[in-house]
Amino acid sequence: MAPGILLALLGVAVVAWIAYNGVQNGKLFWVVTLNGITLAALFFVVAAGFTLIFGLMRVVNMAHGSLFLLAGYIAFTLQGTLYGVSSNLLSGTPATVVSWIVPLVVATIVIGLAGVLMQQVFLRWNQGQDLRQALITIAISVILADQMVAHFGGIAESIQQPAAWPDSVTVLGVHYGFFRLVVVVGAAIVIGGLLFLVIKRTRFGMIIRAGVDDRSMVSALGVNIQVVFAGAFLIGALLAGLAGVLGGTMLAVQPGNDSAFLLDSLIVVIIGGMGSLGGAAIGSLALGLVSSYSNVYLNFGTTDLTNYSILLTFILVVAMLAVRPLGLFGRPA
C-alpha cells in the first residue's frame, strides 16, 4: 500500500500549496477556481454522452469529439447564414437570444440524428466487437476531421452569445464571465439532473441500468434492446452536439478541438469509471480543477513550471489507475 500513502502525501502537499496561495491572493484563487468549475461543467456535458454510450453498449465512440466539433461548426454557420451574425465588430449584427438558441437546437438535433445514423449503419451489426467498433469510429473521426477542415477552414471561429445577456456577473467580489458561469454551469447542472431523473425514475432509465448490468438478460426479458441502444446513442450524440455549441460559444470552434475534447472525455471517464454518470461529474471536476490550478499555481517563486501543467493531468490519470484500475465508480465488464 506504499503507493497509496505516497499519493496521499502528495495530495496533502498539493492542497496545502493551493491553500497557501489562495490565502495570499484570494481574488486570483477565486477566479482560477471558477475557471476550473466552468471548464468542468463543459467537460461533464461532453463526457456524460460518452460514458452513457460506453456504459450501455461497450462502444467507445472515438468520433465523439468530431461530433462535438461538427455541432459547433453547424451552429456557427447557421448563425452566419440565417441571421447574418458575425464576430466582425463593424459590419456584423450582434446575436440575439433567438439567433443563438435556434442554431443551438438545430445543431444539437442534427448531431443527435447523425449519431443514430452512424450507429445504425456502421455499429449495429458489429455488436459485441468492441475493438472493431472503436476502429470504425476512429475511421469516421478521421474522415470527419478532414472534411471539416475542407469545408470550414483552419481558422478559429466563435459562436456569438446573445448581446442582450450581460458580459459578466459579480461573484464574491470578482467579475466573471456570465456565459461561462451561468449558462454553461447551469446547463451542466440541468443536464446532470435530467439524466439522473431519466436513469433513476423512468422505465427507459430502468432498462438502461439493467442493460448496463446484463444486456442479454434484458433482451431475453422481451425488451427490444436495439431500440434502447439507438435511444442511448441518440442521447449521447445529442449531448455531444449541445456541448459543441456551448463550447463553441465559451471557447472557440477550431480544428483540433475534436481531439482535445475526445482526450478530455477519455480522461474524465478513466478517472470516474466507464459508464457512471456520478463518476463523470467527479472526473470532470477533477480534470477541470487540476488543469486550471496547474496553469497558475505551478509557479514556485523563481521556477515557473506552468509549461509542464499537462504533466499533472498525466499524473492524475496515473494515480487513479494505480489505485483503481477501473476508475472511481467503474465496474468490470
Partner: protein, 342 residues
C-alpha cells in the same frame, strides 16, 4: 526474396520514389510493426506508439547539433542510443501503468499517453523549439538524405529486417510464448504462476524499443522533428497502417506502410476535385475511407485478404497445404475480443 528485391530497388527506382515512398514505408512500417507486435503476440492494441517514438526522436534531436531545442552537440550515435534508451524506459513505465488494463481500456489509456506526449512537447518549447527542431545532425554515415537518399534507405531496410527477424525470434523464446499464453488467457497464466502484469509491461517495453527505432529514423528522414508530426492524426495514421496491413500479421506492417505512403504520394497528384469533398489535399479522407472499408470488410487487413484468397485456391486445387507463418496468426482471424481479466 523480397529483401533482395528491396536491396536492389535503388537501381530500379529514381531517388524521388526511393526516398518519398520506399524509405518512408520502411520507417513507418517499423512503427506499425511495434503496434502489430503488441497486438498479435500480446493482445494489446496500443495507440501509444507515436508518443513513444516522439520521445525517442525529441531526445535524440535535443542532444545533437540542431537548430532549436537544447542543441547539446553530442555525437549522433550516442544521442541515438540515448534516445532509444529514454523512450524504452518511458515505454516500460507506460507499460507498468497500462498493463493492468485490457482491450478497449488499454486502447484508451495508450491513446491518452500519446496525446499527452503531444501536448507536452507542444507546450514545453525549451525542449521542442518554437515550431520544432530543424537541421538535426544525423550520423556521418547517413549524411543528408535530401542530397543522397541511399544510405538512409539502406539503414531503414537493415533496421526493418532486424526488427522483423528479432520479433519472430522473440516470439519463440520462453518470454514470447508466455506472452502469447497471456494473450489467450491471462487468468490461466496467472494461475500457472506467471506474473501477467510484468510480462505485459515488459512486452510494452519491447514495443517501445521498436517504436523508438522508427522515431530515430523518422527524424533522420525529415532532418527535423516537431510537435505537429506527432499529433493525434499521426497516432491514428500508425494504427491505420497496421489495420490496412493486418493487425495480426507482422508482415502487414510494411505492406500497410507501402500502401499508405504510395497513396499519400499519388493521391496528391491525380485526385480530382469533387466540390469541397475530394481533391489533392484530401488525403486524410481517402485514407480514412480505405481504413473504414478494411475494418468493415476484412479485419485481417490486406495480408488477411491475401491469405484467405490463397487458402481458398489451395483448398480448391491441391487440398490443404501446410501453413507456414506465425504461431499467433493462424488462431486469430481478424479483430476479436481478447479475453478480459476475470
Amino acid at each position: 526474396m523480397l529483401v533482395l528485391f528491396l536491396a536492389g530497388a535503388p537501381s530500379v527506382f529514381d531517388s524521388f520514389t526511393l526516398s518519398q515512398i520506399l524509405t518512408k514505408a520502411l520507417w513507418l512500417g517499423i512503427a506499425a510493426a511495434s503496434l502489430i507486435f503488441l497486438s498479435s503476440y500480446g493482445g494489446m492494441i496500443s495507440l501509444g506508439q507515436t508518443g513513444i517514438y516522439a520521445v525517442a526522436g525529441f531526445t535524440m534531436a535535443n542532444l545533437v547539433h540542431a537548430a532549436g531545442g537544447r542543441n547539446l552537440g553530442w555525437d549522433p550515435w550516442a544521442a541515438t542510443a540515448a534516445g532509444i534508451a529514454v523512450a524504452t524506459l518511458f515505454g516500460v513505465l507506460c507499460g507498468a501503468i497500462a498493463s493492468r488494463s485490457y482491450g478497449i481500456y488499454f486502447l484508451m489509456i495508450t491513446l491518452a499517453i500519446s496525446v499527452i506526449v503531444f501536448y507536452f512537447f507542444a507546450q514545453v518549447t525549451t525542449l521542442s523549439g518554437y515550431g520544432g527542431i530543424r537541421s538535426v545532425t544525423p550520423p556521418a554515415v547517413i549524411g543528408n538524405p535530401v542530397i543522397n537518399p541511399l544510405p538512409l534507405y539502406y539503414a531503414a531496410l537493415v533496421a526493418s529486417v532486424l526488427v522483423y527477424v528479432g520479433i519472430r525470434y522473440l516470439a519463440r523464446t520462453p518470454f514470447g510464448l508466455a506472452l502469447q499464453g497471456i494473450r489467450d488467457d491471462p487468468a490461466r497464466m496467472q494461475a500457472l504462476g506467471f506474473n501477467v502484469s510484468l510480462h505485459r509491461a515488459l512486452a510494452f517495453g519491447v514495443g517501445a524499443f521498436i517504436a523508438s527505432i522508427a522515431g530515430i529514423l523518422s527524424v533522420w528522414y525529415t532532418t527535423q522533428v516537431s510537435p505537429g508530426g506527432i499529433n493525434l492524426a499521426q497516432t491514428i495514421n500508425i494504427l491505420v497502417i497496421a489495420v490496412i496491413g493486418g493487425l495480426y500479421r507482422l508482415e502487414g506492417a510494411w505492406v500497410g506502410a507501402a500502401v499508405f505512403s504510395t497513396i499519400d504520394n499519388y493521391s496528391r497528384l491525380w485526385m480530382p476535385n469533387v466540390g469541397d469533398w475530394l481533391g489533392p489535399d484530401r488525403f486524410e479522407t481517402v485514407i480514412g475511407v480505405i481504413f473504414l472499408v478494411i475494418v468493415l470488410a476484412s479485419p485481417g487487413g490486406l495480408v488477411g485478404i491475401w491469405e484467405s484468397v490463397w487458402a481458398r485456391r489451395n483448398r480448391a486445387g491441391r487440398g490443404p497445404t501446410e501453413s507456414s507463418g506465425m504461431p499467433a496468426a493462424e488462431e486469430v482471424d481478424g479483430v476479436v475480443d481478447h479475453p478480459a481479466a476475470v
